[in-house]
Structure formats: C-alpha cells, structure tokens
Amino acid sequence: MHLAFEWPKDLQPPLPGQFFTFLPSMVESSAGIILRRPLAFAGFEPKKNTANSSASLSAIAHSIYQIRGPCTKALALQQAGSYIDIIASLGNSFPYPDREEKVIIAGGGIGIGPMLFLAASLAENIAIPEDHIENILKPLESSRSSKEMKLIFGFRSMPLVPSFKEATGNNSIAKTWERLLSGAFIATDDGSKGFHGTVLDALEFLKKTDKLARFWHVYGCGPEAMIAKLAAFAKRNSFPAHLSAEQWMACGIGACQGCVLPARTGGYLRVCSDGPVFEANAIDWEACL
C-alpha cells in the first residue's frame, strides 16, 4: 500500500532511513490499540511551482506499507483527503557514501521502502536527471562509473513483488519507484520471479560471478534474519555497511527505552533514536534472532 501526505512548509524534509509515527485513531477503540505505529519514508517530493505562478503543489512525503494488523488495515481504508496525526521526522538517516564508493542497496520485503528513497536520493545527489536513473543501474560489468549503485531486492514470492503503476497521488514518485524496481536485481525465496533465493544468496551469487568488485558500501533494510546475514556478509568482505533495524516501538523518540537492540560493545541501543540506521558492527545482530 502507498501512503502520501502533505508536508508542512516549515518542516525540514525527511531523509532516507528516517521514519514517522501515526496515531491509529481510525482503528475501533475495541481493538485495544494505544500505541502510535512507525512507518519508514519511501520518498519525498519537494514543493513544485505550477505553470500558474500563483499556485504551487505542496511537498509530499511518501511511505509504502503492508497490511499486517488492525492499524495498517484501517490506514488502508482511509479516503484520499483524510487527516492523519503524524510525528515526523524521527530517527537518523543513511549516511551518504564517499565519493568513490560504489553502492549496494539491499531490501527485503516491505523493507524496500527506505531503500527506494535512498536510491532515488543518491541518484539526485549525484546530479543525474531523473530520466537517466536507469543509466546508473546498468550492469556492473559494463560500468566503470564511480557512482555505481546496485539494487538487490528480495521477496518471498512473485505476488509480493510490488508494482507502483497504480500508486496514488503524484505519479512522478511511482514512476521513479517503477524505474528503480525495473533496474533492480530481484530475488524470490521460491524462485517464482527473478533469482531463486534470498537477497543474501543473490549477493553471494554476484560475488562468486565476480560481479561485485571491492569497496562496495552496503546499505540494507529488511527482516532481522536478512539484516544479520547482510552484516556478516559485509564483515567477511570488509565492506562498510549501514543497516536499518526494525523493532516494536512505543514513544518513537528515545524516551521509553522500549525498542532496544543489543550493542556489540555491551548494553543496548535504541532503534528509534540511536537508529534506526546503524553501522553494521554496532549491533549484535545474531543475538537479535
């Protein structure tokens, strides 16, 4: 599902990796839901001036989500134009790669949302026109650019591979997502689409076939098991890596200490305010499983 909402003029735009929480006030009170729900940003469109100089299109923030429980189910039933109570932007963001670093962007399931945002931002940051995004996704063997970016997205099965052709709101973000998705290396656990295997299997495959040179900066978001394996993969290959974690949250701003993960150096780090993006070695991912 796709959620798009108007962004206030006086608020800093969100960054890839950051998230927001929404108050699920649309859920029946009998459901016993009291906590706000976190969702990651999947894109941002700045304010645009229209041909009519007196009018302009507001900035729009985007998120994608799966219907998993009563809150996301109720959110999906909201009509266009509804009001929703949101706190944003929360958490830290993915650090941009060094100028010479090549980039692997790995996403699993609905974890592709923030990775699409990161990929689109990197494409803009390196000043490539939007309609040329596919050029930086060209096959690795033919690319010598220092600005290379490889997207690897994994899903359980083909029906879970999203299509953004019918995404609501401004269509340009959906076009960007579609373009990024069409340039991505797709893996499915059951082999029903693309590569047969997990994101990690795909990475190992690319590594074995010598399509991954050294000095890749790994970015990832997805299920815990994938993140743990991605951290181990990056460590084995001495790749720098920044991974986004997911955890049950209450406050979302660092106060309740509820969403912790075990730090490699002992103690705990809060996903909402110390993260959600962590340098791969900062967290004992294996202990999270």
Partner: protein, 61 residues
C-alpha cells in the same frame, strides 16, 4: 503544586527527550525512569507489550 498534572515514569523518559514536543517546565511533576548509582544493562527486547488497558514494560533488573 501550581499544576497538578505530572507525567508518570515509563514512557516520558528523563524529560529531555520530549523537549521538542512539550514545554516540560509547564508540568507540575516529572517522574523519571529508574536512576541507579551504578549503570545497569537492562533487559533484552522485547521490552514492550501493548494491551487494551495500557502498555506493559519489562521491569529493569
């Protein structure tokens, strides 16, 4: 007490986390999370359980 409203220990942390959202000087009282002389590691996740009657936290040990 000028303001009878205080925030309970638990999800209001130590107050500073909410500085951007709330003027904590307007509160009558602020009950912090537990403070100990020596650092304690705390409990592993999951620490939260949402229930219809409120939020349950693992007690820090």
């Amino acid at each position: 007490m000028a303001n009878p409203v205080g925030v309970a220990s638990g999800i209001f942390g130590y107050g500073e986390e909410y500085e951007e959202l709330v003027n904590i000087d307007e509160l009558g009282a602020l009950y912090t999370k537990t403070v100990t002389l020596e650092p304690r590691e705390g409990n592993p996740a999951p620490r939260l359980v949402e229930t219809p009657m409120g939020l349950k936290f693992h007690r820090s040990s």
